[in-house]
Amino acid sequence: MGESGRYLYAVTRDVDPQALRDVPALSGGTLEVLEHDEFLAVVSTVDLDEYGEEALRVNLEKLEWLEKAAQTHHAVIEAVSDLGPVAPMRLATIFLDDDSLNRRLDEWRHALTQVLDRVAGRLEWSVKIIAANGAPGASGTRDPDNRPASGADYLRQRKAAVEQRSQRESESQQEAHRIHEVLSARAVATRVLQPQDPRLTGHHGTMVLNAAYLVEAAEGTAFAEEAASCAEAQPHLEVDVKGPWPPYSFAMLEQR
């Protein structure tokens, strides 16, 4: 084993470190909980041959390595989130030693405290709304009974189809917005995220809403039920509800 570093998964407080004893750490290491004033830093030792700057540049691009690292990192954060408030770190936040890590916690003390206060007792729910693209025959397919008589006629038909599609899209946007308002009323905070790329998710249609909701842990079930009933009321919209997540989307620091 070469030089080693300290990989920081998350910062928390008021949890029993023993409860994390059996959670697997990266690279077969052991999870440790370091106490630093009111904070508990969840860390493990990693080999810099695997997690140094050069190695990371290579490893992060290997899907198998990345998948394992991402899932282990996420599983640790979920385990912490089950116990108490969690301020999750981005993947691959690594220090050379504990002194350096503690100095950084001191530097970010105020912001970390704010994040932990904000997320304590709350969890994140993700809601994505997808509108199907167009009705059959609206574009692309050619209806033999409705053949354009001329080039100009054809262009008129296409123009009408495009306008119809854009109107349907704007109606879907408005419905998604109404659902977002209903769900926001049940949330402590909300964040509207970038719509995901259909080429990444494989969904068909337009993602008209990708939002995260910070919800009181005790109200999670009611939130999910509300989302499901919104979905039922709008059968032509696909409403994808996932949760509860650790509050990743609400643990971002103000200074960015």
Binding site: L60, L63, I94, L155, R199, Y248, M252
Partner: protein
Amino acid sequence: MSETPDQVPAARAYQGGMSQAGRPQPANLADILERILDKGIIIAGDIQVNLLDIELLTIKIRLLVVSVDKAQEMGIDWWRHDPMLSGRAQALEDENRELRERVDELESGKGS
């Protein structure tokens, strides 16, 4: 976790139906990555992870996440285009091309 990472093929499909027993839902990897790369707390550690690299990385992941088969099935060839191009811009471009072809066809007298 009871996963068997050694058996994961490099170009596995991460969408629906390909889940092996006992493994987390494959689609979750995209959701997990969205969160652990883009969200959460970004504190600079002692080990520099270049931000630009992370951005490039997400683009590469998007490529890898969709398996080659799935990609072809969906008619994906977007790595030949600007990766920043949105789906809508691409659709408009496609429609534009279709229209131009159709107009050419009509003008040459074949389509009417």
